[in-house]
């Protein structure tokens, strides 16, 4: 017997759960303003998340997937992307999309059951949320073909959850990215749960990052509760994708501090106390303590930030609640570039029926 190949999966962390540095800081993280900006965004996203759940509970929003506990993954990814990069989300990506020209009110519109939530006024390139699990990494590879063909210095980044890594499409997307050398970064937000199925029940693979190796591309694990690590690894991966057309898979380790969505009840399957234990690692307090240690954050700033976020979110909710529904016939108006004659009669019929309200 001889060994024909050996592989390794690196793990990256800079700031541990006690807010202590475990490695020399990457260059970007020496800029305290940049860290504070991400802290502000994580805070905004958590407060928004809490508000969205409250809106759902009071019948003012549809099913909503919380990102509680996973803020560092999404905010870190969004902050590391360039404007001309292309984002291919799944459906838990609030922290990214608000950095991509998407209004908070668009996010509420989408989860409130209005397609206009996908019609971003200030972003003409990013893909809409992808609900069929694991189908979107293929779009990322396809978009990367287009970027490379048009010789653009940009990359595609896509996110999926841990459950999505069991899908064939996830592997197929990495496989073609590897063999065609596509400028694409695959991010897995491993929050340990795919609705009720735990990470351990999902696959016998020791890490999800190692799934990249079979596709011939590198895979690495990142502490997804450490936004410095998230930002740095995403920044490096995007740079490599843009400049060298080398795809990579980043597995972000974090914990879903919530139900799967508002339609789920994790008490049915989540072992007791695990959430409390994992809470000690959560990303926002971790960064706040660090920012306080280096003297760039104070209680006054915290209070001002909370007030500012609350004001913005309340304004957003007002905008959302006062957005009238689309005309009923809009269900036909974007189906094709020009509605075929065959369906015009149906459009007229639904126009006559108009908007039928629930209840």
């Amino acid at each position: 017997m001889k060994v024909v190949a050996r592989f390794e999966v690196p793990y990256y962390q800079y700031l541990d759960e006690n807010s202590q540095l475990t490695e020399k800081l990457p260059t970007f993280a020496k800029d305290a303003d940049s860290l504070a900006a991400m802290y502000r965004l994580m805070t905004l996203v958590r407060l928004f998340d809490t508000k969205a759940i409250a809106l759902q509970r009071t019948g003012k929003l549809g099913t909503y997937p919380s990102i509680r506990g996973q803020e560092a993954v999404f905010v870190g990814v969004g902050h590391a992307m360039h404007k001309e990069d292309i984002f291919v989300p799944y459906y838990r990506d609030v922290g990214v999309v608000i950095q991509r020209g998407v209004n908070l009110s668009d996010i509420l519109l989408y989860w409130g059951g209005d397609e206009r939530g996908n019609c971003y006024a200030n972003n003409k390139q990013d893909f809409p949320y992808s609900v069929p699990v694991g189908s979107q990494p293929l779009h990322a590879s396809g978009a990367a073909v287009a970027l490379k063909y048009h010789k653009k210095k940009a990359a595609v980044l896509t996110i999926c959850g841990d459950g999505a890594t069991s899908q064939g499409d996830f592997y197929e997307a990495m496989n073609v990215a590897g063999v065609w050398k596509l400028p694409v970064v695959f991010v897995v937000c491993n929050n340990q749960w795919a609705i009720s199925v735990s990470r351990g029940a999902q696959t016998a693979a020791q890490t999800l990052a190692q799934k990249a190796i079979a596709a011939g591309i590198p895979g690495e694990q990142v502490d997804g509760n450490d936004i410095i690590a998230v930002h740095h690894r995403v920044e490096m991966a995007l740079k490599k994708a843009r400049e060298q057309h080398e795809p990579v898979l980043l597995e972000m380790l974090c914990y879903r501090q919530s139900d799967h969505t508002t339609a789920d009840d994790a008490r049915r399957y989540e072992p007791p106390k695990i959430r409390e234990q994992e809470w000690k690692k959560e990303p926002i307090m971790r960064l706040r303590r660090y920012l306080e240690q280096i003297g760039v954050w104070s209680e006054d700033q915290e209070q001002a930030l909370l007030a500012e976020c609350e004001h913005n979110i309340n304004q957003t909710v007002e905008d959302y609640l006062h957005t009238p529904p689309q005309p009923a016939e809009s269900m036909f108006d974007y189906l094709y570039a020009t509605l075929p004659k065959a369906y015009q009669e149906q459009r007229e019929l639904v126009k006559k029926i108009g908007v039928v309200h629930h209840g």
Partner: protein, 326 residues
């Protein structure tokens, strides 16, 4: 001008549009060096290079999803599936993504992709190579389903499909790939989508068909003429959206309608056309609308496929039956 086959007309249309539009990219299994298993992409790799003619890894869902990503970002992918029986892994990508990208982004994004595949029985192929499941796609909002039945229509309709701003399922009847030759001027002129083609003008009965069954239907019409029945033959060509205006105008003239398709009967497009005719032309009808179709069974292997495909004889019999209807 030399006459060419239907599959050569496909190649000619691809080459024309690739020359005219640098964003047109051909992708699929074996479409490069091999020129495709039916040689539909023969010579394109030499002419346009490997960035434009891409042999993909062997994964059909990937072909579908990749094409979606490419189309949304400004390319015009023409993706080939080797046989219709192998398109099913990509149905998720086609139905959940390609067909609704424009709608779900309220026009912010669109998905101008062509999914090509050979379809239908009658070429002695192994199993899963003989499917006629066009109704699955015809049932899906947001798609166009286009089926040529002659070299000229293959050329003109494929050009139209590639230029269309929305996703098109382009089904090529493999039984007709090398059946008849025609002169096909390489003039870049597209034929209209969403429009039936009246292939034979008649007064007694309207025969509505598409794809490979155009062959048997035209043969039946010739025989019927000898037997004193003057049949009109309509090639639907775009089965979604349906051009009912042409069909209804014909049925109003003839008073009789027979729909011929190779696909299984239940929920086939024949049912849709028959329902439309009965809703909108009942008072013109002198006999019940009839269907001559494939059966509600799995399309058989090669030895029995001739028993499955609607024959000239079956079409004639049904037409005579409704001609005698009091």
């Amino acid at each position: 001008m030399a006459e060419i086959t239907l599959v050569e007309a496909i190649t000619q249309a691809l080459a024309y549009e690739m020359q005219a539009d640098p964003n047109v990219i051909v992708l699929g299994e074996d479409v490069g060096k091999d020129g495709g298993v039916f040689r539909a992409t023969l010579g394109l790799l030499d002419k346009f290079g490997p960035d434009r003619v891409r042999d993909t890894p062997l994964a059909e869902s990937m072909i579908g999803g990749l094409a979606v990503g490419m189309a949304v970002q400004g390319l015009k992918p023409v993706a080939e599936f080797q046989f219709m029986g192998f398109i099913y892994p990509a149905v998720d990508q086609i139905i959940n993504h390609a067909a609704r990208m424009r709608n779900r982004t309220r026009g912010r994004l669109s998905c101008p992709v062509v999914f090509r595949t050979p379809y239908g029985a009658g070429i002695h192929a192994p199993e899963h190579h003989s499917e006629s499941t066009e109704a699955i796609f015809a049932h899906t909002p947001g798609l166009r389903v286009v089926i040529p039945s002659s070299p000229r229509r293959a050329y003109g309709l494929l050009l139209a499909a590639i230029r269309d701003p929305d996703p098109v399922i382009f089904l090529e009847p493999s039984r007709l790939y090398r059946w008849a030759k025609q002169e096909v001027p390489d003039d870049g002129k597209a034929l209209p989508l969403d429009t039936c083609f009246t292939l034979r003008v008649g007064t007694d009965v309207t025969l509505v068909t598409w794809g490979a069954m155009v062959k048997e239907t035209l043969e039946a019409a010739s025989k019927l003429a000898e037997e004193g029945v003057n049949a009109e033959v309509i090639d639907v060509a775009t089965i979604k959206p349906l051009d009912m205006d042409t069909i209804l105008a014909s049925v109003e003239k003839t008073g009789r309608c027979v729909i011929v398709h190779e696909a299984p009967r239940t929920c086939g497009m024949g049912a849709e056309i028959a329902a439309e005719v009965s809703e909108k032309a009942l008072l013109s009808l002198q006999a019940p609308v009839k269907r001559v179709t494939g059966y509600d069974t799995v399309v058989p292997y090669a030895r029995l496929e001739k028993s499955y495909i609607p024959s000239v004889e079956r079409i004639r019999e049904v037409v005579h039956l409704i001609m005698e209807f009091a």
